[in-house]
Amino acid sequence: MITLKNIYKIYENGDTTTYASNNVSINIEKGEFVAIVGQSGSGKSTIMNIIGCLDVPTSGTYLLNNVDVSTMDDNELAEIRNKMLGFIFQQYNLIPKLNVMENVELPLLYAGLKPEERHERAMESIKRVGLLGKEKNHPSQLSGGQQQRVSIARALAGNPSVILADEPTGALDSRTGREVLEFLQKLNSEGNTIVLITHDNSIAKSANRIIRLHDGKVVYDGPSDVAEATVQAHVSFDEDPLLNSKEGGNET
């Protein structure tokens, strides 16, 4: 489903060169629940932007559903985002002046669906996240957890291949955060592919598989229920033979 091969994202700023992604190769199959973890600055957002088709790599190939998206132009990427990806953001990113219904309808609007079909699918999505009856409310009239559920409904509305969640619990209290994670697990059990991005190991544990980044490199890629998965990256992994061997690994 998602195949990243030797992805580099290099930022050149004067005479400093930053390898935001440094030879990242990841393979994610349909139906997986993967957490990408790492400290701040480790390159999570960079890889998430690439997977989310918001950005293109400096080099390397990215196949999404066997389509090479690494060389697409802005309009083609917009279409891929619209058809194949669902985003859940930390800040919910709902449009304040639109009501719940209109927010959820947005991706369907850009997909060119007819109003009745749009309405029907948005309604279904709102029902799935348990917000039936709130369609006419504006985001400011909802709690944080409800707003995040609206953004989940919006991500689901387009029936995407992959749901990308960037720190979805970051702005929520722990109880509501847990609910959101449970909901993501439920979605995963229903067959949705989910990529969760977080700096928090305890949150990453709700996924089945963890990919740990450090300085733009993959330093662990494997199941979430083994000890190494939650090792804090205090040491330089370049000098750790055990973890180093995992670099670029995508044997799943």
Binding site: N82, F87, I95, L106, P107, L109, Y110, R154
Partner: protein
Amino acid sequence: MSIWQCFIMAFKSLSTSKMRSLLTMLGIIIGVGAVIVIMALGNGMTVYMNDSFAAMGTTNISVNISGRGSSRTVDVDDMYEFYDENSDLFNYISPTVSAMAQVRGEDNEIYTPSIMGVSEQYLDIKDYDLSSGENIRYLDIAQNKKVCVVGAFYDHTVYSGNAVGQNIKINGENYLIIGAVEEQDDKTDENSIDNFIYVPYSTAARYLARNTTISSYTLVVNSDENVSQGIKTIKNRLYETFNSDDYYNVSSLTEILDIMNEMMDTMILILAAIAAISLVVGGIGIMNIMLVSVTERTREIGIRKALGAKGKHIRTQFVVEAATTSALGGIIGILTGIGLSTAVSKLLQAAMEVDITAIPTATSIFVSFGISVAIGIIFGYLPANKAAKLNPIEALRHD
């Protein structure tokens, strides 16, 4: 996504900040309103001018023979001969001798009317009817009789309704009033057009005018289309005699009216163009607010792009929003313009007693609406394009 969707979105966006939208539209409202009022007033004035001229007779041609310095001349007999030869073109002719004289009526008051020496056809030329008495006759002219036809002012006011048959003193000499003309002005006072006296042109030339030779004529062609043909024929006749066009002047109200209409149109156009500058200023205002709006809504743009909006979607959204703003401004401007036109008409009628009705023209309404929409599109394009080109990652990070 349809344009209709964009409209709904634009209206929503405009209605969330009504005050700001209204201020943004102000330039367009003023510009369109001013254009409508100017065009309406100009139109009203043109109509008024044309009506006034029509009342004065657009088929009339004035001939003025100066003949000074030339040994040849064209006299009254020559002109009548010419008139008879061209009866297929002309309906009426009258020599006109204007005179200044003091008049004393039976009330012993002194008046200074417009005194004209005319032929028996002059009442037809003016399209006046007699309320009592008779017209000047050919015999009166041939014999230089001291008779006159008076305006309603003399009949009604000076002679209290029985002027005919009485004498009136013009320059101290008695003239018999043989006819009175129906009133032409509701007021019929000394300053109205009813204060006139017509005498036979021969009498006027002999006793009342400073210059005894008759040199002015009014001829009337039989239709509006024949005015220029009539002028040409008269000019040819006079050129035959004088071999130069320095000795006479032939003109018509139609000619003057054409020139005035042309001047009027030019003036309206210039004024409208000045008013239209306000539209450009309004356009710049819209561009300015749209640029602010794009910056304020960077995050929204980022969200939309992340959800699959292409550059063209964002561009259309902002262009439609700008066009909707200016179109709304245009509509408000048109309504304001129509309202103001009506108010100005009322004011002119009340304050200056002139019957000018400022009528907003359909053309000015459609054109100014079209221009306001076009301005929105043109000035909205730059901000819209800026929005369309935003990088989604950076836009999402914006707050």
